[in-house]
């Protein structure tokens, strides 16, 4: 369901810039304009956005994985190829690039394109889990993920988080690697294994949000 409230459609300040962005990310010009407004609102009309700006969003307070979401925006791997590390502030282009991971795939695409989009989205998720940028999700990192998910559930969450993470890790290992001798060690979930275990989840259709084409009254909180 979407809420469409007609607002004023602002004229595009920098048409050429928007067009290049549109080509790069795939958003339409109207969507870019709306997101730019939001960006300006969050960054208080500055050119760059910082972590603290995102932390001011009130609705995010109750989100258990808040810090990871915010981190994802400042993670270089998500907007630049082959660069690791995180940055302190991002511009609108990076903001838009991160947002583009949540765009729905267009209707008429080939299988390879669909697979590519799927890989890109899963890569985003992978990067969110792999906090130390070493290319694998270790047991500790996975435990952290589950703990964060259950962080609102008090003591019960903390106790079982470990068990759940362990069970999940074992499952990944058994699906990806198969039988292992007792002295072998499973380093961590690589990206390929990650793809394998999430084969059943249709990421390309689920990891999307609806970007509005018309300016809603921006609900800033």
């Amino acid at each position: 369901m979407i809420t469409i409230v007609m607002g004023s459609f602002q004229s595009l300040p920098d048409d050429h810039q928007y067009r290049t962005l549109s080509q790069k990310t795939g958003f339409s010009l109207e969507q870019i304009a709306i997101l730019h407004n939001r960006f300006k609102q969050l960054s208080q009309n500055e050119e760059t956005l910082r972590r603290d700006d995102l932390k001011t969003i009130q609705d995010l307070e109750s989100n258990p994985i808040r810090s990871q979401i915010i981190e994802a925006f400042f993670d270089s791997r998500n907007f630049q190829k082959d660069v690791v590390g995180s940055v302190e502030e991002i511009g609108f282009e990076e903001f838009l690039t991160v947002m583009s991971y949540f765009r729905a795939p267009p209707q008429h695409i080939t299988e390879e394109q669909r697979e590519e989009i799927r890989r890109a989205k899963l890569r985003f998720l992978f990067n969110m889990h792999d906090t130390d940028n070493d290319g694998t999700i270790t047991l500790e990192e996975y435990r952290h993920v589950v703990e964060e998910l259950l962080s609102r559930s008090g003591a019960l969450g903390r106790e079982t988080a470990k068990g759940i993470a362990d069970a999940a890790m074992l499952e990944v290992a058994s699906i990806s690697v198969g039988p292992m001798a007792p002295d072998e060690f499973y380093e961590g979930i690589t990206f390929e294994h990650f793809l394998k275990i999430l084969n059943g989840v249709e990421i390309e259709t689920r990891m999307n949000i609806h970007f509005l084409n018309m300016d809603a009254t921006v609900l800033c909180k």
Binding site: I69, A104, L149, L156, G157, A173, A216
Partner: protein, 779 residues
């Protein structure tokens, strides 16, 4: 065909013919008796059941030793016979594998109904007709409740907009298109059909345009289509009930008057909103009541399923009192109560509810189709080529146009667009069924002189959709390579990531600044968690987050499967052991290690001690038989510990199983211990020699669980070992003592143990597992 199979067929046929004969026979001589009260001419040929009462004189007769009084039990007897016939038919179809894969069950059942009806007519009696009251009050609710209770809420709410569009706008379009065009045809046709007026045609259109949930379920269940399409067609068939109810009543009311004003149309729209929303509200109220009641049933588990059924049925009937949509009430009731009731009721009640619902809906479904066949033979028909053919064609055309047009509009708003393959399946899957038939049957012949013609036309359409479309949809699905349902089990990784995605998408929506689908869903979930769950779920489980609930459910399922399979003589074939905990735990010493590294000498000592004590234990155990093991679990502390250890081993073996797809090899100690569960004599231990140092971590490894469990007994129970037990507990003081010294390190060990052994939020959860291990011991 093998001899055994042939025998099965022969036995089955014999039984079936017997039942069929009984049925026809019961209708035969006493059909006359039944109809005679109606004739009212008092022809006393009531087959000598009564004495024509002379009153005073009473001649003495010999005492009747054996008498035949069929009228007495007539009604329940006939009903039971019909149900029996239906169930036998269902059995029969699955004995003939080839037929059931080509022809859907519904078709076969209609054919059977035709045959039975024909038989009865041949005998000279009136075949019974599918009375609308029986249909709407007894046959339809179980099917709808089954559908509503097990409705996949997630997909349903995600596609709710689309479903509503198809249900409301689609049905309206269909009704008016078919009704209008039929009226045109009737006018054009001239002499025979001129008496059919516009309102009657519209009424007919509204009845026939509703997609039928029973037929859709019956056909779609067999083709295993992907979930999206299934929920779209099925959801549409459920939600269009409100539209059908309103249109039906509207046109029925005013057809006698002859015209409709604009006011009536407006009131009709208001009525539609009232009917649908009212139905949902009534259902939701009863659902909440049922959930609330289930909070208190922890002491009377046996009647838990009854509450679910009765509250739902009451919801249906209450909605029918006000002429609201009963189907929507049932769906709302089932969907609302389910998450809360399932958190409260026992596992056995859950199974009972599931099986009862499936059984009733299955029987209902079968009966409906058989009766459709019988009614076809029975019902008064009036065949009119033009009308019937026109109806069939217009229905098809209307459906296709409607789906295509609506999809065009809907795709503008959907993230995941509907492809043309999807559209084809949606259009093709619009089957009509018994609801339409019953609605026509309800029409009053005085007001609607063309009722018989309508009946004939409806039956033709139903037959066409069920036979032609039902039979061809499966090869078409294969031909078009439509995505099928994925049969994979839900894994813990998928569950984690589903939750993760939900939160992620909500967060991104918040950052984007607009309140979309995920935001509202998240708000609803939080409201649910904060207020509703506290009211409706008993005890500790109200605070259990979904991920943990899922995890516990999986563990429970695994444990039960394990116990059920592990007790028998047959064991899964030897497969190499797969991943266990030590494979993923980091090798470098982390602070999780509770034990220091033991020296080699110490290791040897421990091994020797364990070996000797285990041998002694073996001797001890030989003196127990399985009955005393269960009979006095608390009398002897040793017994309790043994049971507990068995349970933990099973859990641990379950962890092994769960985490690894194949089972551990049959000669591993885990399996032998499972064998112990059924036969205490078979305690053949593998040597407990390997890998003692990794006591703490090696929980799921098949090699040395005994040592671990010994230690675990300590951590879990923390009790002092008894002197006279000797055995395992006493003679391994050193590692235990060392561990006791390191209490902070014990914590992670305990936690890990507890995690793996499913603490559950409430201690009563252990109970079902305990009873299962009891079951295993008795196998």
């Amino acid at each position: 065909m093998s001899v055994r199979k042939r025998r099965i067929y022969i036995d089955y046929c014999g039984m079936f013919i017997l039942v069929l004969g009984l049925l026809v026979g019961s209708l035969m001589p006493l059909g006359g008796a039944a109809s005679s009260p109606d004739t009212g001419t008092g022809h006393g040929g009531s087959h000598g059941n009564k004495n024509p009462g002379n009153g005073t004189t009473y001649s003495k007769k010999p005492f009747p030793v054996l008498s035949f009084d069929y009228e007495h039990v007539r009604l329940p007897f006939e009903i039971s016979l019909w149900v029996l016939l239906a169930s036998l038919m269902k059995l029969g179809f699955h004995l003939i594998p080839r037929v059931s894969s080509i022809v859907p069950e519904s078709c076969l059942l209609i054919v059977v109904g035709l045959l039975v009806g024909g038989l009865i007519k041949m005998v000279g009696e009136d075949p019974p007709v599918l009375e609308s009251k029986i249909f709407f009050f007894y046959l339809l609710p179980p099917i709808i409740l089954d559908a509503g209770y097990f409705m996949p809420i997630r997909q349903f709410t995600e596609n709710l907009g689309t479903i509503l569009m198809f249900a409301v706008v689609g049905t309206l379009w269909n009704s008016f298109f078919v009704g209008g065009l039929l009226y045109g045809v009737c006018q054009l046709e001239g002499h025979k059909l001129a008496y059919v007026d516009l309102l009657s045609c519209l009424l007919f259109g509204s009845i026939i345009s509703a997609v039928d949930p029973v037929a859709v379920l019956a056909v779609f269940e067999e083709i295993h289509i992907n979930e999206l399409l299934h929920i779209l067609v099925f959801g549409e068939s459920l939600l269009n009930d409100a539209v059908t109810v309103v249109l039906y009543h509207l046109f029925e009311e005013y057809s006698s008057v002859g015209s409709i004003t604009f006011m009536d149309v407006f009131l009709g729209i208001v009525c539609f909103l009232v009917v649908s929303l009212g139905g949902i509200v009534v259902g939701a109220i009863y659902g909440i009541l049922a959930a609330f009641t289930s909070r208190f049933t922890s002491h009377t588990r046996v009647i838990e399923p009854l509450f679910v059924f009765v509250y739902s049925y009451m919801a249906y009937l209450s909605a029918e009192v006000f002429h609201l949509s009963g189907i929507m009430a049932l769906i709302a009731c089932g969907a609302v109560m389910r998450p809360y009731v399932e958190a409260n009721i026992s596992h056995k009640s859950h199974t009972t509810i599931k099986y009862f619902l499936k059984m009733w809906s299955s029987v209902s479904d079968t009966l409906i189709f058989i009766f459709l066949g019988v009614s076809t033979v029975a019902g008064p028909h009036q065949w009119n080529w033009t009308f019937v053919v026109a109806t069939v064609i217009f229905c098809l055309v209307a459906r296709v146009l409607g789906v295509v047009g609506l999809t065009f509009v809907i795709n503008k708003f959907r993230i995941v667009k509907l492809t043309s393959k999807d559209q084809f399946i949606i259009a093709y899957g619009g089957l009509r069924g018994a609801i339409a038939f019953s609605l026509v049957y309800l029409l009053n012949p005085k007001h609607f002189p063309m009722r018989n013609m309508f009946l004939t036309a409806i039956i033709t359409v139903i037959f066409f959709t069920v036979f032609v479309q039902g039979m061809t949809i499966r090869p078409l699905v294969d031909l078009l390579a439509v995505k099928k349902k994925q049969e994979t089990k839900r894994s813990i990784n998928e569950e984690i990531h589903t939750q993760f995605l939900d939160h992620l998408l909500t967060g991104i929506e918040d950052i984007c600044g607009h309140y979309g689908h995920h935001h509202w869903k998240d708000k609803l979930n939080r409201f649910n968690k904060k207020y509703v769950k506290k009211c409706l779920i008993a005890g500790e489980r109200s605070k259990e987050p979904q991920l943990i609930a899922f995890y516990h459910k999986m563990e429970m399922k695994q444990a039960i499967e394990l116990v059920e399979s592990g007790g028998g003589a047959k064991l899964p074939s030897a497969l190499p052991s797969t991943v266990s905990m030590q494979n993923i735990q980091p090798k470098k010493p982390s602070q999780d290690r509770a034990l220091p590294q033991l020296s080699k000498a110490r290791e040897e000592e421990i091994r020797k001690i364990l070996r000797t004590n285990l041998q002694r234990t073996r001797q001890r155990l030989r003196s127990y038989n399985r009955h005393t093991l269960i009979a006095d679990p608390y009398e002897d502390g040793w017994n309790e510990m043994l049971l507990k250890r068995k349970k933990m081993k099973e859990l641990e073996k379950k962890m092994n199983n769960y985490l690894t797809v194949p089972a551990p090899p049959p000669d591993s100690p885990t399996i032998t211990r499972a064998r112990l569960a059924s036969d205490p004599q078979a305690w053949g231990l593998k040597s407990v020699t390997e890998s003692i140092p990794t006591i703490k971590v090696d929980l799921a490894s098949p090699q040395s669980p005994e040592s671990v469990n010994v230690v675990d007994e300590f951590s879990k129970k923390g009790s002092q070992p008894k002197e006279e037990e000797g055995g395992l507990t006493m003679k391994v003081p050193s590692p235990a003592k060392q561990r006791k010294d390191k209490t902070p390190d014990e914590e992670p060990q305990q936690r890990l143990m507890r995690c793996l052994s499913d603490p559950g939020p409430a201690p009563e959860e252990i109970q079902p597992l305990r009873s299962c291990s009891g079951c295993a011991l008795h196998i």
